[in-house]
Symmetry: D3
């Protein structure tokens, strides 16, 4: 009973210490969903296109919502909420074009995709890129926390975690996408293809390195197959290279490289099943 | 300001170009959820079983919903909406039996599973197989887009991406499931077990190959351990084989094979932690 | 038509056979969400802290909800619903402290994290640990099914699957988290770091082994990099060891070990792209 | 502060004293809404008719809901929850016919009504009769509280308060309906028309009279115009009578009577407006 | 049991006979609510004013919704759905001005009203006039059923039933409003005040009279006090007249009349309470 | 088209002029609903009583909600939002007792009421009194608009319109309630009974009289039957009087009076129905 009371007091103490000026997650998710439905009506409830007046109206509502979200962060960034909102809507048309280039890249790269609309509406990879590109605008504008809430929302929906700080060129291809992790200081060129399970990460992670480039640079036209891991701030994957699946790579490779595991697999034939299990594969 | 107006016009142009006859995602998700709650009441809100009249009533509602969804696609498929609905409900009892065989396989294969009901209600692998088997009926009936919306919904919920075009036998085991990707022309036999992070994919992905078999064939009783990658349309994994974890495999192996990495790991003892990080593992 | 009728009967038969005394998934999810919003108001809709009366009031509501959920399981556990509720709230303050230690570990281990609040609200790894630690209390109290419904909910939200039966020390670090699987009889010490795609699993999975230790032991201060796989109930990773990425490990290593793949990668320079694809990497 | 604590204790005391075995208002409203949408699909969300299987399915769901509501009252009625459910569904077809006779009466009696469907979907009078006729079945079956919750719900929606205990013949006409009050022991014959603001009430209301007939009897084919008030358990309005508006009637009248106010109105011509107000009309 | 089956069949028969081309009530209510929130943002969820783009956007959405509702009625009206939508939005500015004149009239007529905003947001009378004026546009355009669904929605919310066919001038005052009924062929001039419980109705209601003027004409500047009843198609209340409360009036009165009951009330003093009740007042 | 643009501009102009600092209606309704469910758990969703901690917790939430609502009005009242909140919660226990006295009065006065709980949960009269008593506290504390939003919400739900400014003693009885209107400066004593359709109003309503007593005084133990109208600021109904139904009263009566219409009704026997209608009753 005594403990019980103390726990309430402890909770209160923690509540008071934390949670000053934090945007509501619900508001963030609503903004991201509504913006997506405006840019790509495939995601709207009715799946239908809009009139110019509706488009402008929705954009105006989004401005208001965005400014409202940013207000809660005003003490913690250089720009005003209104200023960031301006920056965002100035950059949106450019990002919109990038997103169409991404959709095109996925469509061309996956034989299973029948139409561009299918890519937009049914590919988690496209969704993850959308969220990243939106979040990146805010990251560049010096907004704290908010960009991470956006990409984490996409992570939850798609299984892809692209840090808002990463820099990614046009025509970026990720499709099934699950399990991709791309770190904060990663730089990725144009026409890069990345398959599921790939990590573009840091070698060793320590707080002191927060301001340094800790993640690799991937140049134009690189393809990285599933479950490959590429680490380190000084690692550069030269343009037009191909990185095989399940590769663990911590150093640079020149342009036009093909990287693959030297280890060959071994195949034992005609083994009894019972033995196999005992053998502790 | 000028740009702003142009952007609205650009959005409008894109809206008009796309989104003709597309099923509403919300309608698709509702259908999939309600069908699941009918087949496995563990997923219904009350978690309780139904009377025969309720079962028939719900099936009738589902027919209506399904026909409604399919109407929006009628210009793009050979069958009528009504015709596809008929096909679907004819095949449903067979698929239902397959799903019980899958649940049984998971129950028997995972010592941690206490009851069949636990498998059905709490295993993401089972959910993913459910969605795939439903989507596969529509894929076979020549319905565009809709099957992908179904499996992408399951992907979002379970982290498993099985293309509706894959052919999978009975008693299919996937449990924790996260990160599994199975491509469009994959063929999987009976009693196959696949662990998390496994990719059954294509070697090189180019639009020209859309009509060809691009993904492997996995024969009966094969086990594939976590994070293995098996690629290529001509790759056949012979029956009763075992593929070890983290294996990268792009060629066929005969029946009863055991495949594992030849690379041994190296262990350095008593290293200082500080050095380890400098050493760039 | 005949089949149609039979199918209804079949569904009914299955409905009746299953679904005795099962907690509603909706109720379970609500409990987990509300408890989280109480412990960490970052997850509440308003993102604001509460008064002591509100805290106590919410805790009282949660007690009621919990007891209600547990009632449906009373025939299948040793304790009464009320008894388990008591146990749970006694242990909650201790678990709460562990969770702050986990948040602190993530904050310190990830240079990209700007504040502790960001970790709590935007890191899927933290969410997964939260759900696991809550579920573990019920697992220890002998409650069936319910713990799995909790961790599966977290799996669905975060892509991380930690079995409620695992034992995990304080200051546990997982961040991007997607694709991590940790088995039922795993034991993990203090200050352990695990990256995305890691599996801590069983070597061979057969129903007969349900009561045995089937998963590895990870001692204090171990770091396991992305996509490593560690298997087997007798495998012990000695304290202060580092396991490299994409490693497949089925035997014990002593303390202070560094484990990494011996296989080196091969790099072919200046290859034509067309050839690369023909080469079937 | 002291008071504050006492008030919480006071609330608790009141909470404990009251609220034993009470049906949830939300459940009652849901049952009434769903039943209405089944009987008259004009009230369903899609405004469309159903298949026989859907009809049976919904009826089965309603049986379940009803039994669940009645369980909470089992200690306070002679029949079991299941027994009352049986009675209700046996009587429903008869009540359904009565409701169509009521709709027909309104349609024929109101020149403004264009179709029977308009009457059903847009006349509050019809809605109020529906709720009354349903509630009356439960009243007759000896169910406490529940019938009142039903008619009060209709009162809230339509402004008409018909006590579930009243007995009302077929082809009952009320249209605009607002402000009609009909007491517990009222008896109304066939083909009766009642306009807005009419009260069929008790003369003096005292607890001791609870078991006596306290409200009037209205015989067949009577018309009662707006804002008339008819009171008293011994008052009988003979068949084929017409009661004028704003009449206050506390005694019986024979068949074929016309009842109207003897008071004539006075008309002052050409009065100045200012004076009129001073005149205290 | 036999009956039960028959009842399902009976329900089906009724379902098929009725409900061809009917607008969804939910859609109608949504349209009316959203239009109101656009015209008077007091009713919007945030209670805040909008940008011009938002206004235009919402108007565009409303056009779409309206056209959609009207489609279901196209077989039953002379204009196309699109044509009626055009007519509606042409007339809307005029109706908007009338509504401000009504609000002004209520504000000036009720000493209790503190601001115009209070009238708009908290007076049921204003709400009822709003719904009537909107519905009247559709009535004039020859749309069936829809206008009645609108006014019935207002009736349910405000207790006021104004038939969409009535013609009402500017600056119409109704405040508390409950129980007011105004019939289809009523004509009301400018600056008229009507209090609660007033009926402006027909003398005798028979289907044959559907095309005739059945309800009174109320000229400019008339005041009608609570619970008065004015009936008959030939009844004309001359301008600047005052009709007292509880008056029953079935013939015309000239301009500047004051009409009141000649019956005086009788007051018995010092009666014992017990006697009073026995006296059967 | 030109008009269309102008209308948008007009709407904008009106939007800007109005709607400064207005509480959200949704917030007001939520507060009133939650407070009711706290005071009388019959209105809570689960219809169950609460623990002391829950009671305190909910009260704390309500304080927060109330303060939030009042903030939007701070420029327009003498007290601070916090100050009014304090006043409100100080007065709440007293009002709570009054409400139990009201429920008791209804229970005793209506033979149809079976329990006190039935009165609380199913009598619109009780609901209306609840809302009035709550609103009255805010009226007395000088809060603008908010009290009216509360009583209008009750009006919409119950058809009863009691102005928050009215003063009403304990044990106030209204039951069916529809159509009751009680004006701002009305004073009502203890143990008063008022039936449906009664107006306690002003004689002539002009803005200049806003600060004067414009409505009657009703002394203790008075009963007013249905559809009576009592008007005028100087009208006093002496204690223990009875006012008959449909009476129109604009002057004072002494204590113990019985007031009823002198006009007798006339009854014509054996009239043919056809004639009756021609007779134009």
């Amino acid at each position: 009973m005594n403990t019980y009371k103390n726990f309430s007091q402890l909770l209160l103490k923690k509540h008071v210490e934390h949670l000053n000026s934090f945007p509501s997650k619900k508001a963030v998710h609503h903004f991201i969903d509504e913006l997506l439905a405006l840019l790509f009506p495939h995601f709207s409830e009715q799946a239908q296109y809009l009139s110019v007046d509706e488009i402008k109206g929705k954009m105006s509502v989004l401005r208001r919502e965005l400014t409202h979200i940013l207000h809660s962060l005003e003490g913690r960034m250089h720009n005003s909420a209104g200023g960031v909102t301006e920056i965002f809507f100035e950059q949106l048309p450019h990002v919109y074009e990038l997103l169409w280039s991404d959709a095109q890249a996925i469509y061309e790269g996956d034989p299973a995709a029948e139409t561009l609309d299918e890519v937009i509406s049914a590919y988690p990879g496209f969704y993850a890129i959308y969220a990243y590109r939106i979040a990146h605008i805010f990251y560049e504008a010096g907004v704290p926390v908010f960009p991470r809430l956006i990409t984490e929302y996409a992570h939850y929906k798609s299984g892809v975690d692209i840090h808002p700080g990463a820099r990614i060129g046009h025509s970026f291809f990720i499709d099934h996408a699950t399990g991709i992790v791309i770190g904060e200081t990663t730089e990725i060129g144009n026409n890069v293809k990345i398959y599921q399970g790939v990590t573009i990460g840091a070698l060793s992670v320590s707080k002191a390195l927060a301001q340094k480039k800790r993640h690799p640079t991937i140049e134009d036209n690189v393809i990285i197959y599933s479950s490959a891991t590429i680490l380190g701030g000084e690692t550069v994957i030269g343009h037009d290279s191909i990185i095989g699946g399940n590769v663990w790579l911590t150093k640079s490779v020149p342009p036009f490289s093909i990287v693959y595991n030297t280890s060959e697999i071994r195949v034992r034939s005609k083994l009894e099943k019972e033995q196999a299990l005992m053998f502790h594969i």
